[in-house]
């Protein structure tokens, strides 16, 4: 009996130790990049674990060498635009597929789901050709157009439309609302949590997008924050304080969303397969 109790105690201790170490490893790189924004190259490479006094200097160099404001403007504009339009287009489609479903629509839906298995890189060459031909290179439209309608979002909203009560629908019809009005005035307000989840994950993905923006946002005027971060490591002498300041600025919006809307974000991640 006592031996069993001791063993249980040991197992528990090991479990907690394991989780604590895993948590520390998970948090460390992000914590370290934040504090490194306050440090100079020597401190960063030497493994200084606390913030020092070089933040202002790092930011000054970063803003001198790179047009951070322009990249931030591009990133925020494209990301917010993409989030709003993607939510509108994909949610009404998901709603349409579920509420009015019949054999034909279910078939179309099944075909759209196949697009989930198409790797983005497999359509990269033709998409680039298409956008070049349409003279959309270096425009916000090029950034957002391929990611407005995603099978993931459509499926997400289709699943949530399943819980939209039929009684509400019928009552709204009797009240004389047309189908579009029902969607706007009944469905959207009722599904706010779903929209919040979809918005968080779309924002995060758009903010961090790299391959496609790197392909279509080619001039210095058009680059977004992740590209600017990548550029900070160019050149022969790397100022790691500047790199970490850029990394921190780029991470701030997504980290803030993570902490403020963690529940929404978690639901969106896991909601993909429900």
């Amino acid at each position: 009996m006592r031996e069993g109790a001791v063993r249980k105690h040991v197992t528990r201790t090991i479990m907690y130790l394991f989780l604590i170490i895993a948590s520390l490893i998970s948090v460390f790189p992000l914590y370290w990049s934040f504090i490194s924004a306050f440090n100079n190259t020597q401190q960063i490479l030497g493994g200084w674990m606390l913030p020092s006094t070089h933040l202002f200097e790092n930011l000054q160099h970063l803003f001198e060498q790179h047009n951070v404001m322009r990249a931030l403007k591009n990133s925020f504009a494209t990301t917010i635009l993409q989030t709003l339009i993607a939510l509108a287009v994909s949610s009404i489609a998901g709603y349409g597929f579920e509420i009015y479903h019949d054999k034909a629509k279910d078939t179309v839906m099944a075909i759209l789901m196949l697009a989930m298995m198409v790797p983005f890189v497999a359509v990269l060459v033709p998409l680039f050709q298409m956008f070049t031909k349409a003279k959309l290179i270096n425009t916000w439209a090029a950034f957002i157009l391929p990611s407005i309608a995603t099978p993931f979002l459509i499926m997400y909203f289709r699943n949530s439309a399943r819980s939209f009560p039929r009684d509400t629908l019928e009552a709204a019809r009797i009240d004389g609302l047309n189908e579009f009005q029902i969607f706007v005035r009944m469905f959207i307000p009722m599904m706010k949590p779903t929209y919040a989840s979809a918005a968080t994950i779309t924002f995060m993905n758009a903010w961090n997008a790299y391959l496609w923006p790197k392909v279509v946002m080619q001039t210095n005027e058009a680059i977004t924050m992740p590209m600017l971060v990548a550029n900070t490591m160019g050149g022969y002498v790397i100022d790691y304080g500047v790199v970490m300041a850029a990394v921190t600025i780029c991470s701030l919006p997504t980290v803030i969303i993570f902490f403020c809307l963690q529940k929404s974000f978690t639901n969106a991640v896991a909601g993909a397969v429900k």
């Binding site: 009015y100 179309v108 429900k274």
Partner: protein
């Protein structure tokens, strides 16, 4: 009388039903069209382009048609990129998924203190952008960087390891980065699926004397099998398309020893002499690999 009335009513209802069905079509058409224009059409277009050669502005059918595919077999960089990508896939995905299952089952224990805190910490890497974390890891593992300095100070290493300039260590750094970034992400899927497992099963198992390993192997993993399959397919899909880490963390180096397929495709598209036909052919290989591996996983996942 009543007959005609009901027939009329039926007719009216039918037309109303048709109206509604039409509204449905109107709602789903924009998204459907976009997916066809941005995904399906380019996919077939890529297949056609993969049979062409020449400058991007003057593509012509190649002779023989499969020339680009033939060339791949002789292209050492391409073969290296396939080897690298598959190496990441085979090592990283299992480690990550196993860790994610272990974390999820530990955090599903209701007697555990600080569950929320642990979960937030392990999930936090998902808040970091792929370029941002690539930069962080590049800085951490650079030759005179923190990892070497700390390991030498602690006496673990006698001399610095040139992490990013060694073919094996550089691959290891990418794998460490990937596991760090995505384990918590997959854990969230499992935790969410575990919520639908009746917790009393675990309590009953505990009373019957099953230890935590037995609970994991006999209850959790069998019940999670469908979701493990989904995460395996998603991770495979993601790893085959790996780009940001290769470009920013190791820059494909040393000497293409860590370059991924997507990175090489990008390089083929944006050099002095871009070759769109060849890039399209290579990207089509990724498409086939994704499809084949997904089919294999589904078959294996269903049988077990």
């Amino acid at each position: 009388m009543t007959n005609t009335a009901s027939a009329q009513k039926k007719k009216k209802r039918l037309s109303m039903h048709q109206k509604q069905s039409l509204a449905g079509w109107a709602f789903l058409t924009p998204a459907t069209l976009l997916i066809f224009i941005m995904s399906f059409y380019p996919m077939f277009s890529a297949l056609l382009t993969s049979f062409k050669r020449g400058k991007p502005t003057a593509l012509v059918w190649s002779d023989p048609l499969w020339r680009n595919y033939q060339f791949m077999l002789k292209d050492k960089v391409f073969i290296q990129s396939v080897t690298n990508t598959l190496t990441y896939l085979i090592i990283q995905v299992p480690i990550m998924l196993i860790l994610a299952v272990i974390f999820a089952s530990l955090l599903n224990n209701r007697d555990l203190k600080f569950r929320g805190l642990f979960r937030t910490c392990i999930f936090l890497p998902c808040a970091t952008g792929l370029v941002a974390y690539s930069m962080i890891f590049r800085t951490l593992f650079t030759y005179d960087g923190m990892v070497n300095n700390v390991l030498i100070k602690l006496g673990v290493l006698s001399e610095a390891i040139n992490w990013l300039n060694d073919p094996i260590y550089a691959k290891a750094v990418i794998i460490i980065g990937l596991v760090w970034r995505w384990t918590g992400y997959n854990m969230v899927f499992y935790l969410s699926a575990m919520q639908s497992i009746d917790y009393s099963i675990y309590e009953a198992a505990r009373i019957d004397g099953a230890n935590s390993v037995q609970q994991l192997m006999r209850i959790t993993i069998p019940l999670l099998r469908p979701i493990i399959l989904v995460t395996a397919i998603m991770s495979t899909n993601g790893t085959l398309q790996l780009f940001d880490e290769s470009v920013n963390l190791t820059r494909g180096g040393p000497g293409n020893m860590t370059i991924t397929m997507s990175h090489y495709i990008y390089n083929t598209m944006f050099t002095k002499n871009p070759n769109f036909g060849y890039a399209a052919a290579m990207s089509f290989v990724i498409l086939v690999m994704v499809a084949v591996l997904a089919a294999v996983q589904m078959k294996v996942g269903d049988k077990r």
